[in-house]
């Protein structure tokens, strides 16, 4: 027998789940595009061998900012969450794995699972 929550409370709860990654991606996207982290991102991409590092840094910044907004508002939620999940998978595989789990890829792993869950959710969340 499941606990029946009022509809508004249920929506608020799922919004909280979206809010975590939304804020993280919004802030990081903002930093990459306007907050002085662009060069650092390009340096990272050059170090790990991401092709077209300069352009890729702008694209990833835009993805994180717009993706964060999508997670927050629910507009284009699933495609945005899917793209962000893919980004996190690449970050883990290309950058974070050699650095270990604790203090390194644990964070991207949580974001990956949250985004994957939102992307694959059968209902609008």
């Amino acid at each position: 027998m499941g606990l029946k929550l009022p509809a508004t409370l249920g929506e608020g709860a799922t919004l909280l789940v979206r809010l975590g990654p939304a804020v993280v991606f919004l802030v990081h996207g903002w930093l990459k595009l306007f907050g002085g982290h662009h060069d650092r991102t390009v340096a990272l991409f050059l170090t790990v061998g991401i092709p077209l590092a300069e352009n890729a840094a702008w694209v990833i910044g835009a993805l994180e900012l717009l993706g964060g907004a999508a997670l927050l508002t629910g507009i284009f939620l699933r495609p945005a969450a899917a793209l962000l999940a893919m980004e996190m998978a690449v970050v883990i595989a290309v950058v974070r794995l050699p650095q270990g789990f604790v203090g390194a890829w644990e964070f991207e792993f949580v974001l990956l699972l949250l985004c994957l869950g939102l992307a694959l959710s059968p209902e609008r969340v």
């Binding site: 509809a7 508004t8 929506e11 608020g12 799922t14 919004l15 979206r18 809010l19 804020v23 802030v27 903002w30 930093l31 907050g35 002085g36 982290h37 060069d39 650092r40 390009v42 340096a43 990272l44 050059l46 170090t47 790990v48 927050l72 508002t73 629910g74 507009i75 950058v95 050699p98 650095q99 270990g100 604790v102 203090g103 390194a104 609008r124």
Partner: protein, 165 residues
């Protein structure tokens, strides 16, 4: 629809402190590095500062063995190997430091100098391009070394001098 309204209200009400969107330059303390490794690192650093390369190598090797994922130790160990002429070993260790911390300006700087010492100017310039993105002052010094084809030009006497607490 109700969810979107809720989301917009939350967005408006979120305080967004300025510090959230300001680039913070904090000292990165490697997670999981043991205190024994840090002690060995500090002993190595003292020897390093007095240019006792071989003795420093022993301590840094110990720090690396005990510490595991310890980019400062790999970087300084590489520096010492470079100073005793073991360039291939140094390059390998710089690459390990950069796997652990890809945006480590000094490791990029020293790797560039190691490539320069090996005569690989193209690789040195590739690393310079990364340093330029991370640290303008360091890049200026490195550019001088590359232009003069002298890896020791403006080379600092020691590498990471701010070990984790």
């Amino acid at each position: 629809m109700r969810g979107m309204v809720l989301a917009l209200i939350l967005l408006i009400l979120t305080p967004w402190p300025a510090s959230w969107v300001r680039a913070a330059d904090v000292t990165e303390v490697p997670a999981g590095v043991s205190s024994e490794a840090v002690k060995a690192f500090r002993r190595g650093l003292e020897l390093h500062k007095s240019k006792q390369w071989t003795a420093a190598i022993k301590e840094y090797e110990r720090a690396v063995a005990l510490g595991g994922r310890f980019p400062e130790a790999f970087n300084n160990l590489a520096y010492c190997y470079r100073k005793v002429g073991q360039l291939d070993r140094a390059i390998e260790l710089y690459k390990t430091a950069l796997q652990l911390r890809p945006t480590f300006p000094q490791a990029h700087d020293y790797l560039s100098r190691a490539y320069l010492a090996k005569g690989d100017r193209a690789a040195a310039l590739r690393e310079y391009e990364i340093v330029r993105r991370l640290d303008a002052k360091l890049a200026h010094c490195l550019k001088g070394a590359i232009d003069r084809n002298d890896p020791d030009y403006n080379d600092m006497p020691w590498a990471s001098n701010s070990p984790p607490p």
